[in-house]
Subunit: 415 residues, 2 copies
């Protein structure tokens, strides 16, 4: 029996136990997990050193090494993240609808856990703890498959969490980590219909595409973000300037940062040069279409493939458009349905943009960087869904639940 | 360019137009579609004759031929179904949540169409009209792939609907029918990521399994129903009797009918013989476990494979259990997470059953036959979801929608 099948089976068997726990029992377990991480941070940091040394020997880039690194401060932040999940309302058992039918049947729609959630992710070991905390709090068992680069860290973290769970009401088996670094172990997990209720990939585009292509279990797509900001003819200059710069440079490595700036020709004529100067001063490389290069000299040409690229870096495409329709068409063609913004003072054009642009989040006069569970007030998130089924946008705890109809009768039969 | 790709592309292009229509525009189009079906029923019935003759020549069973047959009455019922969809509330644009963040951002979560929905189904031509009506009313374009047995009927129906749509605000291209009976056309549709937003299979288990296995686009699983009724020690005899018989024989061919009756040993001792007599009198063949055969003589043994079989026929498995836990374990092992019932007067045991049984609908003291969009008051349904993601149980119009966050700011940027 393979590791994946065995661990998924154990986790699935633990799911019904978890489903019957009270919020207090689950919170107490999360609290103990947080304390264990803090108490045993030296063990975790030592295991993390093994990953870092292996990474350095394999020529891992300094930015990836940085993401992988755990320090005392970072472990404490991770533990604090768990404590924030304790504070979140427990969605399980929530009564979503209640109605009585003419025949006297009482129908109640209630929130229930999904069951067993698979999470496939890359180098950051903090995801191991976040994902475990969110899944367990929402009453789900979880099977984690982290990147092989972080394997030593992840194994130690899960060992610490297992030791903590052993002293709580959450069954230890409800949390599983795949340790076989073989790619086949991912593919096997993607096909465990009947055991795994949903798989959520967290990572780069190639990981997500591989999961979508190979999975037969349901998948929630997350993450990829080719986000646009459109500066309309009716835009306020200061807002246009602030939002464009914030969306690009406040944190370019994340999915909700801007990759392409679309500018109405009239607005461009008056203001593009000034905005571009600020972007360049902030370290941004600009690639433009022909008309943009007429205004900003000495920049590269934005090529066809650039419009669809998620740079996650200090690079920005700029295109000048004739009107709102051209901006909407561009976004619906090249965007990844993540976060899109119009800067305008014109309510009609804002209304059209928000209706016609097909994305999880559409903004009028605010940075796309706000698409985030914390910023929306949901607390920690398991990811940002870019698909339309089940959950769209930042996914808090309710996105990790399903529903059930409970129907109460008094002997009713169908005629 | 293949037929599937071409038609999906046309439908996808029509989706944004549909998204901008008012409820009145959509309802007027559905009304015209209904009238066109009535006006041109002779054409439709003539096309249906071709299917029936081909079916008879190919040795199609009389029950399948009956399902395939269109009469004047049936066409009028189908048209009436469209008019019922007109009466349903339009979910598009519904405001689901609204909140203001401390930084002044106003966040509104609104209902939007999914985009392009693919429906794959089998012989009944009424599905062609139901699915078209439900998808269009919820602002979605739709691509239909019906069974080859009903191809002539479906082609004529879609031609009539297209002629009707041509005189409305719904673009004709928003409704597409795949006419290539090649199986590859289904597989191609299942992999049109970026064009098809969801595929919903409606039909038997083999069709659904094939779709789940081959699709890379999101799927909503429907239908398969191995449903149980558990007669608890605390059951009222009359309710137990009425519900068991209704769940089995009122319409055995459908997914929410009962396949297995589980009976507490004490209740069985007193009442099973009497209930079995009534079932047998109603034409039901009973297959039992050992203890059942001790009580009811002369019946077949229920074999391991029988417990997981959806008979859709006048056949019923009966098993005697020692206690509630055994009933719950049996259901969670052999059920398809569709509809499950406990007959009991004991509120604690009912509560445990409804919490611990993992199914879309769980009943206390009512027939599982009630799991149905009309019976739940949703109006027409596109199917009954047996998966946990996105929609679970009878799927009305809201199950054919997604959501979008519309965020209104005043120049907010992220710190």
């Amino acid at each position: 029996m393979s590791e994946v099948f065995q661990k998924a089976t154990l986790a699935k068997q633990a799911a019904p136990v978890l489903n019957q726990l009270t919020t207090e029992q689950k919170n107490a377990a999360l609290e103990r997990m947080a304390q264990a991480l803090i108490d045993r941070q030296d063990d975790i940091i030592a295991a993390n050193k093994e990953d870092l040394e292996r990474g350095a020997a394999n020529g891992m880039s300094s930015s990836l090494l940085d993401r992988l690194t755990l320090t005392s401060k970072r472990v404490e932040d991770i533990a604090e993240g768990l404590r924030q999940i304790v504070e979140l309302p427990d969605p399980i058992g929530d009564l979503l609808e209640e109605f009585e039918r003419p025949n006297g049947l009482l129908v109640r729609k209630v929130r229930v856990p999904l069951g067993l959630i698979g999470i496939i992710y890359e180098a950051r070991p903090n995801v191991t703890v976040d994902a475990a905390g969110l899944c367990l709090k929402s009453g789900n068992a979880v099977i984690l498959r982290g990147g092989s680069d972080a394997l030593s860290s992840n194994q130690k973290i899960v060992q610490v969490l297992h030791d903590a769970l052993a002293e709580t009401d959450i069954p230890v088996d409800a949390l599983q980590l795949i340790t076989n670094p073989d790619r086949n172990s991912v593919d096997e997990m993607l096909r465990l219909n009947g055991l795994v209720d949903v798989v959520i990939p967290r990572g780069g585009r190639s990981l997500i595409e591989r999961v979508v292509k190979n999975a037969t279990v349901p998948v929630i797509e997350t993450g990829a973000g080719v986000c646009h900001t459109y500066l309309d003819d009716g835009a306020d200059f200061k807002k246009a300037c602030d939002i464009s710069i914030n969306a690009k440079v406040q944190r370019p490595s994340v999915c909700n940062s801007m990759e392409t700036l679309l500018v109405h020709q009239e607005f461009a004529h008056h203001y593009l040069m000034e905005i571009a100067d600020k972007l360049i001063a902030a370290g941004v490389e600009i690639r433009g279409d022909m008309r943009t290069r007429d205004i900003i000299s000495g920049i590269k040409e934005a090529k066809e493939e650039d419009w669809g690229t998620e740079y996650n870096d200090y690079i920005l495409n700029i295109r000048i458009v004739n009107h709102l329709d051209e901006a909407i068409d561009h976004i619906n063609r090249y965007g990844t349905k993540h976060s899109e913004c119009i800067v305008t003072e014109d309510p009609d054009r804002a209304r059209r943009f928000m209706l016609e642009v097909d994305a999880a989040a559409v903004y009028q006069n605010a940075s796309t960087r706000f698409t985030d569970g914390f910023e929306f007030g949901f607390g920690a998130e398991i990811g940002i869904s870019t698909q339309k089924l089940h959950a769209r946008g930042p996914m808090g705890l309710p996105a990790l639940t399903s529903t059930k109809y409970c129907v109460y009768g008094n002997g009713q039969i169908r005629q």
